[in-house]
């Protein structure tokens, strides 16, 4: 209803590039696809209008800002379908310049024509136009020159070829592959990048690096999504994955870091059929580590704590700060407080995410079907680097967990100005909302 109204108004004011009457169903489909691609996540500044751009993104050479993709003159109001298609699937803006590969056009290259048309209809007719000029990057000259990006594009971006389902395969898995490799651009975070910044693999055929987990990005690890039990999704069932993507939580896990926004703004809007497709496809990815084995729970630490023995390094810190929710047996509480025993997030080779969580805490996003937004409080103010390292190591080596240890210096490296240890006088309590 609203969308129709907006579309009508737009045409009335002549802001709309495409005069043809939009098909409401197509606009609606475009909205769904825009959710699947989580376009809003990058193309909206904090507190800004949807899709009006301006979100800063750190790159090794300087800060770039996402662009206005609303149907205004400042945005993409003047884009024809061909212009739009060139940008999304080939990475070429209307003025001929190459987009920064922060825009995942190598993934979008495989979108179907029908989906492109639907997205175009949505961005021309379903989005409120915003007169917000684009912001130049902070990248200094000569690095700010864009012509090398065209070379990068030539080297690393695939040809824009609509998705072809592998023959005789499961249509559900095919759908999952289309969403994960294409619009969902999961690899943008979850696939490691080469020195030249391209994703090491854009699909399973390109190698085992595909979705094998990233280096730290803004203080978080985008975890391995392959079949590894230790640090991947090996121990997760398809149903758990669906539940996780839809609600940000499963019986023994909770979303955190950058994935919170993905659940809140994108995944919770997906149909159960599409979430099932994504999950089923992800479950087809074999483990990266050929020697991967399922988690074996070890009672030793739980028994010691139960008997009042906190002699293991980090155990006392764990009891005082973590055990109320995550319990001395490391099993947490169903759907509320995640299990730490066997949790792939705490066993990644790089402990950045776990350290970050201990320092800064985390807030579970509220979703339509799971509206409770639980918060794990921050411990940066309360624990020093030695204590954080000790408790992280305790978690990574207890209840059968088998991950390497971290040093206090690793904790110090992750502390930023909002993660300082304080005297406790301010009690770290924030009362502003």
């Amino acid at each position: 209803m609203n969308r129709m109204l907006i579309a009508t108004l737009l045409m009335g004011t002549g802001l709309c590039a495409q005069a043809a009457q939009p098909d409401p169903k197509q606009v609606q489909q475009g909205e769904y696809l825009a959710r699947a691609g989580d376009c809003v996540a990058c193309h909206t500044a904090k507190g800004g209008k949807p899709f009006a751009g301006g979100l800063p993104m750190e790159t090794p050479i300087g800060t770039i800002y996402s662009t206005n993709i609303t149907p205004s003159p400042e945005g993409i109001g003047s884009y024809s379908f061909e212009d739009f298609d060139q940008a999304l699937r080939r990475g070429i803006a209307k003025d001929g310049s190459t987009l920064y590969p922060a825009m995942p056009y190598p993934s979008y290259a495989r979108l179907t024509e029908a989906d492109m048309q639907a997205l175009y209809a949505y961005f021309q007719h379903g989005v409120q136009p915003v007169a917000e000029p684009n912001r130049d990057s902070d990248i200094p000259w000569p690095l700010s020159m864009r012509w090398p990006l065209a070379i990068w594009r030539g080297l690393f971006a695939p040809d824009a070829k609509p998705w072809q389902a592998a023959q005789a395969s499961d249509p559900v898995i095919d759908r999952g592959a289309y969403l994960v490799e294409g619009l969902g651009h999961c690899g943008a975070c979850h696939t490691p990048r080469a020195l030249t910044m391209q994703e090491k693999a854009l699909n399973p055929q390109e190698g085992e690096a595909f979705l094998a987990g990233s280096a730290p990005l803004e203080g978080w690890i985008a975890k391995n999504l392959r079949g590894d039990h230790k640090d991947g999704l090996g121990s997760w069932s398809e149903a758990q994955l669906v539940q996780f993507l839809k609600t940000g939580r499963s019986d023994n896990s909770a979303v955190f870091g950058g994935m919170s926004d993905v659940v809140e703004h994108s995944m919770q809007y997906m149909t159960d059929a599409d979430l099932t497709a994504i999950a089923r496809y992800l479950k087809t990815l074999p483990p990266s580590n050929p020697n991967d084995k399922p988690h074996q729970y070890d009672r030793k630490v739980a028994d010691a704590l139960w008997h009042g023995d906190d002699s293991k390094a980090g155990a006392a810190v764990y009891i005082d700060n973590c055990a109320a929710c995550h319990r001395t047996d490391g099993k947490g509480y169903t759907r509320v407080f995640p299990a730490l025993a066997g949790n792939p997030v705490v066993q990644t080779a790089d402990a950045t995410s776990l350290i970050h969580l201990v320092l800064k805490g985390g807030t579970l996003p509220a979703t339509h079907t799971a509206p409770s937004s639980f918060t794990m409080p921050a411990y940066a103010w309360r624990l020093n680097d030695q204590q954080v390292a000790a408790v992280v190591n305790f978690i990574r080596t207890s209840w059968g967990n088998q991950a390497g240890t971290v040093k206090p210096g690793d904790v110090a490296d992750l502390r930023t100005s909002d993660m300082r240890q304080t005297s406790g006088d301010d009690l770290g309590q924030v009362t502003d909302h």
């Binding site: 407080f337 409770s372 639980f374």
Partner: protein, 594 residues
């Protein structure tokens, strides 16, 4: 001159349990709803963040979650012949402030009601005769029965995630030997969660009361016995018996509150808006005085704003509902001399007695742990479960060990005769801190002609409006009931073979003491009933005089219950909301002919 905002379908004054329940129900009915909460926004995070919230000085001593007396208080006097003075330090009762209201700082004891207490006057007249009720006692029937309310008790328990053990479900006994209460009325469903575990002191109470032939049961508790998801999709964590419930935000998400159990669902709907720091001054009426047009409030910036609405819900704390009605000219103020008028009448409270037992060092009660809603109780002397005839008083009391956690500042109790300081105090504290228990007779409290609420003629609040005046004192019936109950408790204590006991009961001619905490269970003042001459609200909590104003809350109770009030408050609010949804919205007007 107030700026007038865009009209909404319903405005709700106050965002505690009743405001949250009404907001949920009315948004489900498709109404555009605005809730105005005069206190600040507050939630489990950051206000209940661990470990900062485990701070007795900030929360219990300095009363972080309670009424800000610098802006508003009540005045109190014992009789109409006294001059009322402002309540300048919180003591006897602790009204909450901010989002969640009392529902954020409560303990979590979540009872239903004993059915006879809904028809108190009729029941006593039928069993004991009219003359059994003292002349100046103004107890009444609620005008609604337990059977009518049962579905709403049932749903409220599901929303709260209440732990407990049913005695009967649909007439079938299921709770014998499992901690069910044989005096409890029938239920349509078991509790959503099994009972919490019982601490040692509750087990001692269970053994002693069993030995005396009584019928101990597990307290129904809105502290969870395990993780829980309610019908709104809101989730709760498990209670870990940390002992910081009453007066605190629960950091485990395990004590039911509007913030944990309802607000998350409301945040997901577009037709609801919650405005914190919005202090309502009055309900505005049209010229006929029979219809409300909205409310006027002061926002966080100090601006006076008018919020027009089709429907006004007064969902503030008990005495604030009464005061808003008086300030707005809704209903005739009560006059105790003529015994006429309705707003302010039947102001009632709780009638509590406590007995503590002190043991030798071989009995470890570990009373630093606890949960606010947890414990073991008996109902053998509650409601009319025993023959009042020989005793000559009206009212009953559940009795219990409700170990809510002995905190370091206020939690130290020593045997009678122990000095209040010095080395003897220290020794006694070391000897007894983990070897004692405390029992309460919670005590129903009746309403009387002389206990009432009106506007104070002298004292005003920060906005220049008259404060509410409480005229209240203990009556002979209260003292005699209290002494009876404390005597029974003392015998239970003796049955535990303690080294000593301390008895805290009321003495003959004792006056109401504002400095000594009892409970925050204040009742009445805007009561429901069947007769507009003796009640401000009809049985659906709708004002008799202004049909588009509904007033849920314990202000609607004609007298105080033996049980804690929250369960009945919640059920009545759902009952009222259902009437609004199914009857009022289709045909706005009085739901009961006056």
């Amino acid at each position: 001159m107030a700026n007038t905002l865009k009209k909404v379908d319903a405005v709700i004054v106050g965002f505690g349990w009743t405001g949250a329940i009404m907001a949920k129900e009315l948004t489900e009915a498709g109404l555009q709803v605005v809730a105005l909460e005069r206190g600040p926004m507050q939630d489990t995070y950051p206000d209940g963040s661990y470990p900062q919230v485990i701070d007795e000085l900030t929360y219990s001593v300095r009363k972080k979650l309670f009424l800000d007396l610098s802006k508003e208080t009540v005045t109190i006097r014992h009789t109409v012949n006294d001059v009322a003075l402002p309540y300048r330090q919180l003591g006897a009762f602790l009204p909450g402030k901010g989002v969640g209201g009392a529902g954020l700082h409560w303990s979590g004891v979540h009872f239903r009601v004993d059915p006879i207490e809904l028809r108190m006057r009729s029941h006593y007249e039928e069993r004991y005769g009219k003359s059994f009720i003292p002349q100046d006692m103004t107890i009444q029937d609620f005008g609604v029965t337990y059977e009518e309310l049962e579905p709403y008790f049932d749903f409220a328990e599901k929303v709260f995630g209440t732990s407990g053990q049913a005695w009967t479900v649909k007439g079938e006994v299921v709770g014998r030997g499992k901690g069910g209460n044989p005096y409890a009325p029938d239920r349509s469903n078991p509790f959503p969660l099994v009972s919490q575990k019982n601490v040692v002191s509750a087990q001692l109470f269970q053994q002693a009361t069993s030995a005396l032939g009584y019928h101990p049961y597990n307290l129904p508790s809105a502290n969870t016995s395990g993780p829980y998801t309610n019908p709104y999709g809101a989730q709760m964590g498990p209670c870990n018996f940390c002992g910081f419930c009453s007066g605190y935000v629960c950091y485990m998400y395990s004590k039911a509150s509007p913030n944990v159990n309802i607000l998350p669902a409301l945040r997901q709907v577009p037709n609801f808006e919650l405005r914190a720091n919005a202090h309502v001054l009055r309900v505005n009426l049209d010229d006929s005085k029979q219809r409300a047009t909205g409310v006027t409030y002061i926002d966080a910036q100090g601006r006076e704003l008018e919020q027009p609405a089709e429907l006004v819900i007064l969902a503030a704390f008990q005495f604030n509902n009464v005061r808003l009605m008086l300030l707005s000219g809704i209903g005739k103020p009560y006059d105790p001399v003529k015994n006429e008028g309705v707003v302010g009448r039947n102001f009632a409270y709780q009638n509590m007695g406590t007995v503590k037992a002190f043991f030798d060092k071989d009995v470890h009660t570990n009373n630093f742990i606890g949960a606010g809603g947890n414990g073991v109780a008996i109902d053998d002397f509650n409601a009319d479960n025993f023959d009042h005839g020989p005793h000559g008083f009206v009212g009953g009391s559940p009795m219990w060990v409700n170990q809510a956690g002995s905190r370091p500042i206020a939690g130290v109790a020593n045997p009678p005769g122990t000095p209040a300081w010095g080395s003897a105090w220290k020794k006694a504290t070391a000897d007894y801190y983990t070897h004692q228990l405390s029992m309460d007779a919670h005590g129903a409290h009746q309403s009387y002609r002389g206990n009432y609420l009106d506007l104070d003629p002298t004292y005003r609040d920060a906005y220049g409006l008259p404060l509410l005046r409480m005229t209240f004192d203990w009556q002979d019936n209260d003292i005699r009931m209290n002494q009876f109950m404390v005597d029974k408790l003392s015998k239970i204590a003796q049955a535990m073979n303690p080294k000593s006991i301390a008895v805290l009961g009321k003495q003959v001619k004792e006056h109401f003491n504002t400095a000594s905490y009892q409970t925050t269970h204040l009742n009445g003042g805007a009561i429901m009933g069947t007769d507009p001459a003796t009640s401000a609200l009809n049985r659906y909590l709708q004002c008799w005089d202004v049909h588009n104003v509904f007033v849920p809350g314990a202000s609607a109770f004609p007298q105080g219950l033996g049980y804690n009030p929250t369960g009945l408050v919640a059920a009545l609010t759902y009952w009222s909301a259902r009437a609004i949804r199914e009857q009022y919205l289709k045909n706005p007007g009085p739901l009961v002919a006056a």
